[in-house]
Amino acid sequence: MFAHAFVRNAYLAGTFIALACGIVGWFVVLRAQLFAGDALTHVAFVGAIAAAVLGYTELVGLFVLTLAVAVGMGALGRHGQADDAAIGIVFAWILGLGVLLLAILATSASGGSGVTLAHTLFGSIYSLTPGGSRLAAGIAVAVALAVLVAVRPLLLATLDGELASARGIPIRALGIGFLAVLAVVTAESTQAVGALLLLGLLAAPAGAAQRLTASPYGGLALSALLAVLAMWGGLALSYQIASLPPSSAIIGLAGAAYGAATLYARAREG
Protein backbone atom coordinates (compact mmCIF):
# COMPACT_ATOMS: atom_id res chain seq x y z
CA MET A 1 0.00 0.00 0.00
CA PHE A 2 2.69 2.47 0.96
CA ALA A 3 4.51 1.94 -2.28
CA HIS A 4 2.14 4.41 -3.85
CA ALA A 5 3.02 8.07 -3.50
CA PHE A 6 -0.57 9.18 -3.21
CA VAL A 7 -1.06 6.85 -0.27
CA ARG A 8 2.04 8.16 1.48
CA ASN A 9 0.93 11.72 0.91
CA ALA A 10 -2.51 10.95 2.25
CA TYR A 11 -1.13 9.33 5.38
CA LEU A 12 1.31 12.13 5.99
CA ALA A 13 -1.25 14.89 5.76
CA GLY A 14 -4.03 12.83 7.26
CA THR A 15 -2.17 11.81 10.37
CA PHE A 16 -1.32 15.32 11.38
CA ILE A 17 -4.66 16.75 10.35
CA ALA A 18 -6.36 14.13 12.50
CA LEU A 19 -4.03 14.96 15.36
CA ALA A 20 -4.87 18.64 15.11
CA CYS A 21 -8.59 17.95 14.82
CA GLY A 22 -8.53 15.68 17.81
CA ILE A 23 -6.80 18.25 19.96
CA VAL A 24 -8.70 21.31 18.77
CA GLY A 25 -11.96 19.38 18.69
CA TRP A 26 -11.62 18.41 22.33
CA PHE A 27 -11.70 22.07 23.26
CA VAL A 28 -14.44 22.86 20.77
CA VAL A 29 -16.71 20.30 22.42
CA LEU A 30 -15.75 21.50 25.89
CA ARG A 31 -16.45 25.10 24.97
CA ALA A 32 -19.75 24.06 23.34
CA GLN A 33 -18.66 25.81 20.17
CA LEU A 34 -19.75 23.14 17.74
CA PHE A 35 -22.18 25.60 16.17
CA ALA A 36 -19.32 27.95 15.44
CA GLY A 37 -17.42 25.00 14.02
CA ASP A 38 -20.35 24.07 11.85
CA ALA A 39 -20.63 27.62 10.58
CA LEU A 40 -16.94 27.77 9.82
CA THR A 41 -17.09 24.57 7.80
CA HIS A 42 -19.78 26.08 5.65
CA VAL A 43 -17.69 29.20 5.25
CA ALA A 44 -14.74 27.03 4.31
CA PHE A 45 -16.81 25.47 1.57
CA VAL A 46 -17.71 28.87 0.16
CA GLY A 47 -14.15 30.08 0.55
CA ALA A 48 -12.80 27.20 -1.45
CA ILE A 49 -15.30 27.68 -4.25
CA ALA A 50 -14.75 31.43 -4.25
CA ALA A 51 -11.04 30.94 -4.57
CA ALA A 52 -11.54 28.56 -7.46
CA VAL A 53 -13.79 31.10 -9.15
CA LEU A 54 -11.43 33.97 -8.64
CA GLY A 55 -8.53 31.90 -9.79
CA TYR A 56 -6.47 31.76 -6.66
CA THR A 57 -5.37 28.46 -5.35
CA GLU A 58 -8.07 26.99 -3.23
CA LEU A 59 -6.05 27.14 -0.10
CA VAL A 60 -5.66 30.90 -0.02
CA GLY A 61 -9.34 31.73 -0.39
CA LEU A 62 -10.18 29.07 2.13
CA PHE A 63 -7.91 30.35 4.81
CA VAL A 64 -8.59 34.00 4.31
CA LEU A 65 -12.34 33.80 4.40
CA THR A 66 -12.54 31.29 7.22
CA LEU A 67 -10.09 33.22 9.36
CA ALA A 68 -11.91 36.46 8.74
CA VAL A 69 -15.25 35.01 9.77
CA ALA A 70 -13.77 33.32 12.81
CA VAL A 71 -12.15 36.48 14.08
CA GLY A 72 -15.32 38.39 13.35
CA MET A 73 -17.37 35.93 15.38
CA GLY A 74 -14.95 36.13 18.23
CA ALA A 75 -14.74 39.90 18.17
CA LEU A 76 -18.50 40.34 18.15
CA GLY A 77 -18.40 38.30 21.28
CA ARG A 78 -21.26 36.25 22.55
CA HIS A 79 -23.95 38.42 21.18
CA GLY A 80 -27.00 37.57 23.11
CA GLN A 81 -28.41 34.06 23.17
CA ALA A 82 -27.50 31.28 20.78
CA ASP A 83 -30.18 32.17 18.28
CA ASP A 84 -30.41 28.89 16.40
CA ALA A 85 -32.89 30.26 13.93
CA ALA A 86 -30.56 33.05 12.84
CA ILE A 87 -27.61 30.67 12.63
CA GLY A 88 -29.63 28.29 10.51
CA ILE A 89 -30.72 30.99 8.09
CA VAL A 90 -27.18 32.29 7.75
CA PHE A 91 -25.88 28.72 7.18
CA ALA A 92 -28.38 28.23 4.42
CA TRP A 93 -27.51 31.54 2.83
CA ILE A 94 -23.78 30.84 2.92
CA LEU A 95 -24.39 27.48 1.29
CA GLY A 96 -26.60 29.18 -1.24
CA LEU A 97 -23.73 31.51 -2.05
CA GLY A 98 -21.53 28.49 -2.48
CA VAL A 99 -23.97 26.98 -4.91
CA LEU A 100 -24.02 30.21 -6.87
CA LEU A 101 -20.26 30.35 -7.01
CA LEU A 102 -20.22 26.76 -8.10
CA ALA A 103 -22.53 27.58 -10.96
CA ILE A 104 -20.33 30.49 -11.95
CA LEU A 105 -17.39 28.16 -11.84
CA ALA A 106 -19.19 25.73 -14.08
CA THR A 107 -19.92 28.33 -16.70
CA SER A 108 -16.58 30.11 -16.59
CA ALA A 109 -13.96 27.43 -16.05
CA SER A 110 -13.46 24.38 -18.18
CA GLY A 111 -16.06 22.36 -16.35
CA GLY A 112 -15.20 19.90 -13.65
CA SER A 113 -17.32 21.85 -11.20
CA GLY A 114 -19.01 18.68 -10.13
CA VAL A 115 -15.65 17.34 -9.14
CA THR A 116 -14.84 20.52 -7.29
CA LEU A 117 -18.14 20.31 -5.46
CA ALA A 118 -17.66 16.72 -4.42
CA HIS A 119 -14.10 17.36 -3.35
CA THR A 120 -14.87 20.46 -1.38
CA LEU A 121 -17.82 18.88 0.31
CA PHE A 122 -16.44 15.43 0.89
CA GLY A 123 -12.69 15.70 0.69
CA SER A 124 -10.06 14.47 -1.72
CA ILE A 125 -7.26 13.24 0.42
CA TYR A 126 -5.88 10.98 -2.25
CA SER A 127 -5.32 13.87 -4.61
CA LEU A 128 -2.76 15.62 -2.47
CA THR A 129 0.58 16.43 -4.03
CA PRO A 130 3.73 15.67 -2.04
CA GLY A 131 4.24 19.39 -1.54
CA GLY A 132 0.62 19.86 -0.62
CA SER A 133 0.65 17.08 1.89
CA ARG A 134 3.83 18.34 3.50
CA LEU A 135 2.29 21.79 3.78
CA ALA A 136 -0.88 20.37 5.28
CA ALA A 137 1.12 18.35 7.77
CA GLY A 138 3.20 21.34 8.70
CA ILE A 139 0.18 23.56 9.30
CA ALA A 140 -1.48 20.85 11.35
CA VAL A 141 1.58 20.40 13.51
CA ALA A 142 1.76 24.15 14.07
CA VAL A 143 -1.89 24.22 15.10
CA ALA A 144 -1.49 21.30 17.47
CA LEU A 145 1.54 22.89 19.06
CA ALA A 146 -0.24 26.22 19.39
CA VAL A 147 -3.04 24.62 21.35
CA LEU A 148 -0.75 22.49 23.46
CA VAL A 149 1.34 25.49 24.38
CA ALA A 150 -1.76 27.32 25.59
CA VAL A 151 -3.42 24.29 27.10
CA ARG A 152 -3.49 25.37 30.73
CA PRO A 153 -4.68 28.95 30.23
CA LEU A 154 -7.19 27.75 27.66
CA LEU A 155 -8.52 25.12 30.02
CA LEU A 156 -8.89 27.56 32.87
CA ALA A 157 -10.46 30.19 30.64
CA THR A 158 -12.97 27.62 29.41
CA LEU A 159 -13.96 26.20 32.76
CA ASP A 160 -13.81 29.31 34.90
CA GLY A 161 -13.55 32.54 32.95
CA GLU A 162 -13.65 34.82 35.94
CA LEU A 163 -10.89 33.05 37.77
CA ALA A 164 -8.84 33.07 34.60
CA SER A 165 -9.10 36.82 34.13
CA ALA A 166 -8.34 37.31 37.78
CA ARG A 167 -5.12 35.41 37.17
CA GLY A 168 -4.26 37.77 34.35
CA ILE A 169 -5.22 35.51 31.45
CA PRO A 170 -6.59 37.55 28.54
CA ILE A 171 -9.70 35.43 28.01
CA ARG A 172 -11.09 37.52 25.20
CA ALA A 173 -7.91 37.42 23.15
CA LEU A 174 -7.58 33.75 23.95
CA GLY A 175 -11.12 33.14 22.79
CA ILE A 176 -10.54 34.93 19.52
CA GLY A 177 -7.23 33.16 19.11
CA PHE A 178 -8.91 29.82 19.65
CA LEU A 179 -11.51 30.57 17.01
CA ALA A 180 -8.71 31.58 14.66
CA VAL A 181 -6.99 28.26 15.31
CA LEU A 182 -10.30 26.50 14.69
CA ALA A 183 -10.55 28.37 11.41
CA VAL A 184 -7.10 27.21 10.34
CA VAL A 185 -7.87 23.59 11.22
CA THR A 186 -11.19 23.85 9.44
CA ALA A 187 -9.77 25.37 6.30
CA GLU A 188 -7.04 22.82 6.21
CA SER A 189 -9.05 19.73 6.91
CA THR A 190 -11.45 20.60 4.12
CA GLN A 191 -9.02 19.04 1.71
CA ALA A 192 -8.79 15.81 3.59
CA VAL A 193 -12.30 15.17 4.75
CA GLY A 194 -14.32 17.83 3.05
CA ALA A 195 -16.29 20.76 4.44
CA LEU A 196 -19.36 18.78 5.38
CA LEU A 197 -17.57 16.02 7.20
CA LEU A 198 -14.80 17.73 9.07
CA LEU A 199 -17.20 18.64 11.81
CA GLY A 200 -17.23 14.92 12.46
CA LEU A 201 -13.48 14.77 13.00
CA LEU A 202 -13.83 17.64 15.42
CA ALA A 203 -16.83 16.29 17.28
CA ALA A 204 -16.72 12.51 17.33
CA PRO A 205 -13.24 11.69 18.72
CA ALA A 206 -13.55 14.53 21.22
CA GLY A 207 -17.04 13.47 22.21
CA ALA A 208 -15.89 9.91 22.68
CA ALA A 209 -12.90 10.99 24.75
CA GLN A 210 -15.08 13.13 26.99
CA ARG A 211 -17.44 10.26 27.58
CA LEU A 212 -14.60 8.01 28.58
CA THR A 213 -12.55 10.23 30.82
CA ALA A 214 -12.94 13.44 32.73
CA SER A 215 -9.22 14.06 32.90
CA PRO A 216 -8.18 16.94 30.61
CA TYR A 217 -4.78 15.68 29.56
CA GLY A 218 -6.01 12.14 29.27
CA GLY A 219 -8.97 13.39 27.30
CA LEU A 220 -6.84 15.42 24.90
CA ALA A 221 -4.54 12.52 24.29
CA LEU A 222 -7.42 10.10 23.84
CA SER A 223 -9.19 12.45 21.47
CA ALA A 224 -6.09 12.85 19.33
CA LEU A 225 -5.46 9.12 19.41
CA LEU A 226 -9.00 8.24 18.38
CA ALA A 227 -8.90 10.78 15.57
CA VAL A 228 -5.62 9.43 14.24
CA LEU A 229 -6.81 5.83 14.50
CA ALA A 230 -10.00 6.75 12.65
CA MET A 231 -7.89 8.39 9.96
CA TRP A 232 -5.53 5.43 9.57
CA GLY A 233 -8.33 2.93 9.66
CA GLY A 234 -10.40 4.92 7.22
CA LEU A 235 -7.56 5.33 4.76
CA ALA A 236 -6.65 1.66 4.95
CA LEU A 237 -10.25 0.54 4.52
CA SER A 238 -10.86 2.80 1.56
CA TYR A 239 -7.65 1.63 -0.05
CA GLN A 240 -8.76 -1.96 0.23
CA ILE A 241 -12.33 -1.31 -0.82
CA ALA A 242 -12.20 0.72 -3.99
CA SER A 243 -15.78 1.93 -3.89
CA LEU A 244 -15.50 3.21 -0.32
CA PRO A 245 -14.62 6.92 -0.31
CA PRO A 246 -11.91 7.71 2.25
CA SER A 247 -13.86 10.46 3.98
CA SER A 248 -16.88 8.21 4.50
CA ALA A 249 -14.64 5.53 5.96
CA ILE A 250 -12.87 7.92 8.29
CA ILE A 251 -16.07 9.51 9.56
CA GLY A 252 -17.72 6.14 9.82
CA LEU A 253 -14.97 4.90 12.12
CA ALA A 254 -14.98 8.11 14.15
CA GLY A 255 -18.73 7.89 14.56
CA ALA A 256 -18.51 4.25 15.52
CA ALA A 257 -15.92 5.13 18.14
CA TYR A 258 -18.28 7.74 19.56
CA GLY A 259 -21.17 5.33 19.59
CA ALA A 260 -19.08 2.67 21.30
CA ALA A 261 -17.81 5.16 23.86
CA THR A 262 -21.37 6.27 24.64
CA LEU A 263 -22.60 2.72 25.11
CA TYR A 264 -19.62 1.85 27.24
CA ALA A 265 -20.03 4.94 29.39
CA ARG A 266 -23.73 4.21 29.88
CA ALA A 267 -23.03 0.61 30.78
CA ARG A 268 -20.42 1.73 33.25
CA GLU A 269 -22.82 4.11 34.98
CA GLY A 270 -25.91 1.99 34.85
Binding site: F35, G96, A103, G114, A118, G200, A204, S248
Partner: protein
Protein backbone atom coordinates in the same frame (compact mmCIF):
# COMPACT_ATOMS: atom_id res chain seq x y z
CA UNK B 1 -32.70 28.35 -17.62
CA UNK B 2 -31.70 31.35 -19.63
CA UNK B 3 -34.83 32.71 -21.15
CA UNK B 4 -35.03 36.43 -21.17
CA UNK B 5 -36.94 38.39 -18.64
CA UNK B 6 -39.03 40.57 -20.89
CA UNK B 7 -40.06 42.89 -18.03
CA UNK B 8 -43.66 42.52 -19.02
CA UNK B 9 -45.15 40.67 -16.08
CA UNK B 10 -48.04 39.12 -17.95
CA UNK B 11 -45.99 37.59 -20.69
CA UNK B 12 -43.31 36.52 -18.25
CA UNK B 13 -45.86 34.77 -16.11
CA UNK B 14 -47.41 33.20 -19.15
CA UNK B 15 -44.01 31.90 -20.11
CA UNK B 16 -43.47 30.49 -16.65
CA UNK B 17 -46.67 28.54 -16.83
CA UNK B 18 -46.08 27.30 -20.31
CA UNK B 19 -43.87 24.44 -19.33
CA UNK B 20 -45.23 21.47 -17.37
CA UNK B 21 -42.03 21.12 -15.42
CA UNK B 22 -42.40 24.69 -14.30
CA UNK B 23 -45.99 24.17 -13.30
CA UNK B 24 -44.99 21.09 -11.36
CA UNK B 25 -42.20 22.99 -9.67
CA UNK B 26 -44.49 25.84 -8.69
CA UNK B 27 -47.14 23.49 -7.41
CA UNK B 28 -44.65 21.43 -5.45
CA UNK B 29 -43.06 24.60 -4.18
CA UNK B 30 -46.37 26.00 -3.01
CA UNK B 31 -47.35 22.82 -1.20
CA UNK B 32 -43.98 22.56 0.46
CA UNK B 33 -44.00 26.26 1.40
CA UNK B 34 -47.26 25.93 3.29
CA UNK B 35 -46.13 22.76 5.04
CA UNK B 36 -42.73 24.15 5.97
CA UNK B 37 -44.17 27.44 7.17
CA UNK B 38 -46.69 25.82 9.49
CA UNK B 39 -44.41 23.16 10.92
CA UNK B 40 -41.48 25.55 11.00
CA UNK B 41 -43.40 28.05 13.07
CA UNK B 42 -43.79 25.53 15.85
CA UNK B 43 -40.23 24.28 15.38
CA UNK B 44 -38.74 27.73 15.86
CA UNK B 45 -40.92 28.29 18.93
CA UNK B 46 -39.82 24.95 20.34
CA UNK B 47 -36.20 25.86 19.74
CA UNK B 48 -35.70 22.67 17.77
CA UNK B 49 -33.96 24.20 14.76
CA UNK B 50 -30.77 22.20 15.23
CA UNK B 51 -32.83 19.02 15.35
CA UNK B 52 -34.58 20.14 12.20
CA UNK B 53 -31.22 20.70 10.50
CA UNK B 54 -30.01 17.25 11.44
CA UNK B 55 -33.21 15.66 10.20
CA UNK B 56 -32.85 17.47 6.91
CA UNK B 57 -29.33 16.17 6.53
CA UNK B 58 -30.68 12.65 6.96
CA UNK B 59 -32.66 13.18 3.80
CA UNK B 60 -29.43 12.92 1.86
CA UNK B 61 -28.42 9.36 2.84
CA UNK B 62 -32.08 8.42 2.72
CA UNK B 63 -32.51 9.41 -0.88
CA UNK B 64 -29.10 8.15 -1.94
CA UNK B 65 -29.61 4.85 -0.18
CA UNK B 66 -33.02 4.39 -1.73
CA UNK B 67 -31.60 5.07 -5.18
CA UNK B 68 -28.89 2.54 -4.49
CA UNK B 69 -31.24 -0.28 -3.62
CA UNK B 70 -33.71 0.69 -6.29
CA UNK B 71 -36.48 2.07 -4.14
CA UNK B 72 -38.15 5.36 -5.02
CA UNK B 73 -36.11 8.22 -3.62
CA UNK B 74 -39.17 9.85 -2.09
CA UNK B 75 -39.58 6.82 0.13
CA UNK B 76 -35.95 7.03 1.11
CA UNK B 77 -36.39 10.62 2.24
CA UNK B 78 -39.33 9.88 4.49
CA UNK B 79 -37.96 6.68 5.97
CA UNK B 80 -34.57 8.18 6.75
CA UNK B 81 -35.96 11.35 8.29
CA UNK B 82 -38.65 9.52 10.22
CA UNK B 83 -36.19 6.96 11.51
CA UNK B 84 -33.78 9.68 12.56
CA UNK B 85 -36.58 11.48 14.40
CA UNK B 86 -37.45 8.39 16.41
CA UNK B 87 -33.79 7.71 17.11
CA UNK B 88 -33.22 11.23 18.34
CA UNK B 89 -36.29 11.02 20.53
CA UNK B 90 -35.09 7.77 22.11
CA UNK B 91 -31.53 9.02 22.50
CA UNK B 92 -32.52 12.22 24.21
CA UNK B 93 -35.27 10.90 26.40
CA UNK B 94 -37.75 13.54 27.35
CA UNK B 95 -35.35 16.46 27.28
CA UNK B 96 -36.28 18.69 24.41
CA UNK B 97 -33.38 21.12 24.54
CA UNK B 98 -30.20 19.72 23.13
CA UNK B 99 -27.41 22.09 23.96
CA UNK B 100 -24.02 21.49 25.45
CA UNK B 101 -22.80 17.95 25.47
CA UNK B 102 -25.64 16.66 23.35
CA UNK B 103 -24.55 18.77 20.39
CA UNK B 104 -21.61 16.40 19.98
CA UNK B 105 -24.07 13.56 19.51
CA UNK B 106 -26.21 15.46 17.05
CA UNK B 107 -23.18 16.68 15.13
CA UNK B 108 -21.88 13.13 14.90
CA UNK B 109 -25.22 11.77 13.74
CA UNK B 110 -25.41 14.52 11.15
CA UNK B 111 -21.93 13.93 9.82
CA UNK B 112 -22.19 10.14 9.77
CA UNK B 113 -25.41 10.56 7.83
CA UNK B 114 -23.67 12.75 5.28
CA UNK B 115 -20.76 10.33 5.03
CA UNK B 116 -23.16 7.45 4.47
CA UNK B 117 -24.97 9.43 1.81
CA UNK B 118 -21.77 10.13 -0.01
CA UNK B 119 -20.89 6.46 0.22
CA UNK B 120 -24.22 5.44 -1.26
CA UNK B 121 -23.80 7.88 -4.11
CA UNK B 122 -20.33 6.64 -4.89
CA UNK B 123 -21.51 3.07 -4.78
CA UNK B 124 -24.30 3.90 -7.15
CA UNK B 125 -21.88 5.73 -9.44
CA UNK B 126 -24.17 8.72 -9.50
CA UNK B 127 -21.59 10.90 -7.83
CA UNK B 128 -21.61 14.32 -9.37
CA UNK B 129 -25.06 15.39 -10.48
CA UNK B 130 -26.66 13.34 -7.77
CA UNK B 131 -24.79 15.10 -5.02
CA UNK B 132 -25.71 18.53 -6.16
CA UNK B 133 -29.37 17.76 -6.63
CA UNK B 134 -29.77 16.02 -3.34
CA UNK B 135 -27.93 18.63 -1.37
CA UNK B 136 -28.94 21.80 -3.09
CA UNK B 137 -32.17 21.03 -4.83
CA UNK B 138 -33.41 21.41 -8.31
CA UNK B 139 -36.72 22.29 -9.73
CA UNK B 140 -36.18 20.68 -13.05
CA UNK B 141 -37.00 17.19 -12.01
CA UNK B 142 -40.30 17.46 -10.16
CA UNK B 143 -42.72 14.91 -11.56
CA UNK B 144 -46.48 14.77 -11.41
CA UNK B 145 -46.35 11.82 -9.04
CA UNK B 146 -44.04 13.72 -6.78
CA UNK B 147 -46.41 16.64 -6.64
CA UNK B 148 -49.25 14.32 -5.74
CA UNK B 149 -47.20 12.60 -3.05
CA UNK B 150 -46.20 15.95 -1.60
CA UNK B 151 -49.81 17.05 -1.56
CA UNK B 152 -50.89 14.01 0.41
CA UNK B 153 -48.07 14.24 2.91
CA UNK B 154 -48.57 17.98 3.35
CA UNK B 155 -52.32 17.60 3.77
CA UNK B 156 -51.94 14.97 6.47
CA UNK B 157 -49.19 16.84 8.29
CA UNK B 158 -50.90 20.22 8.22
CA UNK B 159 -54.17 18.69 9.33
CA UNK B 160 -52.48 16.99 12.26
CA UNK B 161 -50.89 20.24 13.31
CA UNK B 162 -54.09 22.22 12.83
CA UNK B 163 -56.10 19.80 14.91
CA UNK B 164 -53.60 19.87 17.74
CA UNK B 165 -52.84 23.56 17.38
CA UNK B 166 -53.68 24.58 20.92
CA UNK B 167 -52.47 21.55 22.87
CA UNK B 168 -49.22 21.66 20.93
CA UNK B 169 -48.81 25.35 21.67
CA UNK B 170 -49.45 24.82 25.35
CA UNK B 171 -47.03 21.91 25.46
CA UNK B 172 -44.45 24.02 23.65
CA UNK B 173 -44.42 27.00 25.96
CA UNK B 174 -45.45 25.35 29.20
CA UNK B 175 -45.03 21.57 29.36
CA UNK B 176 -45.79 21.62 33.09
CA UNK B 177 -49.19 23.16 32.59
CA UNK B 178 -49.84 20.79 29.68
CA UNK B 179 -49.08 17.83 31.88
CA UNK B 180 -51.29 19.27 34.60
CA UNK B 181 -54.14 19.55 32.11
CA UNK B 182 -53.82 15.91 31.27
CA UNK B 183 -52.34 16.37 27.81
CA UNK B 184 -50.31 13.42 26.45
CA UNK B 185 -47.01 15.26 26.49
CA UNK B 186 -44.83 12.42 25.25
CA UNK B 187 -47.11 11.71 22.33
CA UNK B 188 -47.22 15.37 21.36
CA UNK B 189 -43.44 15.55 21.50
CA UNK B 190 -42.78 12.46 19.43
CA UNK B 191 -45.67 13.22 17.12
CA UNK B 192 -44.31 16.65 16.37
CA UNK B 193 -40.84 15.32 15.66
CA UNK B 194 -42.35 12.88 13.18
CA UNK B 195 -44.35 15.64 11.51
CA UNK B 196 -41.15 17.70 11.40
CA UNK B 197 -39.36 14.76 9.79
CA UNK B 198 -42.08 14.55 7.16
CA UNK B 199 -41.94 18.29 6.52
CA UNK B 200 -38.18 18.15 6.23
CA UNK B 201 -38.27 15.18 3.87
CA UNK B 202 -40.84 16.92 1.71
CA UNK B 203 -39.01 20.25 1.66
CA UNK B 204 -35.68 18.60 0.86
CA UNK B 205 -37.08 17.38 -2.40
CA UNK B 206 -37.41 20.98 -3.54
CA UNK B 207 -34.63 22.84 -1.82
CA UNK B 208 -32.17 20.03 -1.28
CA UNK B 209 -31.12 18.64 2.07
CA UNK B 210 -28.84 21.48 3.01
CA UNK B 211 -31.02 24.42 2.12
CA UNK B 212 -34.17 23.31 3.89
CA UNK B 213 -33.71 26.08 6.40
CA UNK B 214 -34.66 28.62 3.80
CA UNK B 215 -38.24 27.43 3.97
CA UNK B 216 -38.42 25.78 7.34
CA UNK B 217 -36.87 28.48 9.50
CA UNK B 218 -36.74 31.78 7.69
CA UNK B 219 -40.47 32.45 7.18
CA UNK B 220 -41.31 31.36 10.73
CA UNK B 221 -38.44 33.25 12.29
CA UNK B 222 -39.28 36.38 10.29
CA UNK B 223 -42.94 36.11 11.30
CA UNK B 224 -41.98 35.75 14.95
CA UNK B 225 -39.87 38.86 14.73
CA UNK B 226 -42.91 40.78 13.65
CA UNK B 227 -45.63 39.40 15.86
CA UNK B 228 -46.09 37.27 18.92
CA UNK B 229 -49.71 36.42 18.26
CA UNK B 230 -49.95 32.76 17.29
CA UNK B 231 -52.72 33.07 14.71
CA UNK B 232 -51.27 36.00 12.85
CA UNK B 233 -47.77 34.60 13.17
CA UNK B 234 -48.74 31.37 11.44
CA UNK B 235 -50.50 33.17 8.62
CA UNK B 236 -47.55 35.51 8.15
CA UNK B 237 -45.19 32.57 8.13
CA UNK B 238 -47.15 30.96 5.30
CA UNK B 239 -47.27 34.21 3.34
CA UNK B 240 -43.51 34.65 3.65
CA UNK B 241 -42.82 31.07 2.62
CA UNK B 242 -44.99 31.40 -0.47
CA UNK B 243 -43.23 34.64 -1.32
CA UNK B 244 -39.84 33.01 -1.05
CA UNK B 245 -40.80 30.07 -3.21
CA UNK B 246 -42.59 31.99 -5.93
CA UNK B 247 -39.99 34.72 -6.20
CA UNK B 248 -37.16 32.23 -5.99
CA UNK B 249 -38.54 29.87 -8.61
CA UNK B 250 -39.64 32.71 -10.81
CA UNK B 251 -36.30 34.46 -10.84
CA UNK B 252 -34.38 31.21 -11.17
CA UNK B 253 -36.33 30.37 -14.30
CA UNK B 254 -34.98 33.42 -16.06
CA UNK B 255 -31.50 33.08 -14.72
CA UNK B 256 -28.69 30.68 -15.35
CA UNK B 257 -27.96 30.50 -11.67
CA UNK B 258 -29.32 27.80 -9.42
CA UNK B 259 -32.61 28.05 -7.61
CA UNK B 260 -30.98 27.23 -4.26
CA UNK B 261 -29.08 30.48 -4.27
CA UNK B 262 -32.15 32.58 -4.93
CA UNK B 263 -34.30 30.82 -2.40
CA UNK B 264 -31.76 31.13 0.40
CA UNK B 265 -30.91 34.73 -0.45
CA UNK B 266 -34.52 35.85 -0.53
CA UNK B 267 -35.13 33.98 2.72
CA UNK B 268 -32.15 35.62 4.36
CA UNK B 269 -33.15 39.05 3.08
CA UNK B 270 -36.68 38.56 4.37
CA UNK B 271 -35.41 37.59 7.79
CA UNK B 272 -33.07 40.57 7.93
CA UNK B 273 -35.89 42.88 6.91
CA UNK B 274 -38.13 41.50 9.63
CA UNK B 275 -35.33 41.86 12.18
CA UNK B 276 -34.82 45.43 11.07
CA UNK B 277 -38.51 46.25 11.35
CA UNK B 278 -38.56 44.80 14.83
CA UNK B 279 -35.59 46.84 16.03
CA UNK B 280 -37.07 50.00 14.55
CA UNK B 281 -40.31 49.27 16.36
CA UNK B 282 -38.50 48.58 19.62
CA UNK B 283 -36.53 51.77 19.35
CA UNK B 284 -39.62 53.77 18.56
CA UNK B 285 -41.44 52.28 21.50
CA UNK B 286 -38.56 53.11 23.79
CA UNK B 287 -38.77 56.81 22.97
Amino acid sequence: MSTRLSLDPISDLRELFAFPFMVNALEAGTIVAVLAAVVGWYMVLRRQTFAGHTLSVMAFPGAAGAALVGLPTGLGYYVACGGAALFMRRARGSARRSYGTETATIATVQVVGLAAGYLFLSLGNAVLGGTETLLFGTFLGVSRTQVLALLIVAAVAVTLVAVSARPLLLETIDPEAARARGLPVAILDTGFLLVLAAAVAATSQITGALLVFALLVAPAAAAQQLTMRPGIGLVLSVVFALLIVWLGLGIAYFSIYPVGFYVTSIAFALFLAARLVRSIRTRRRAR
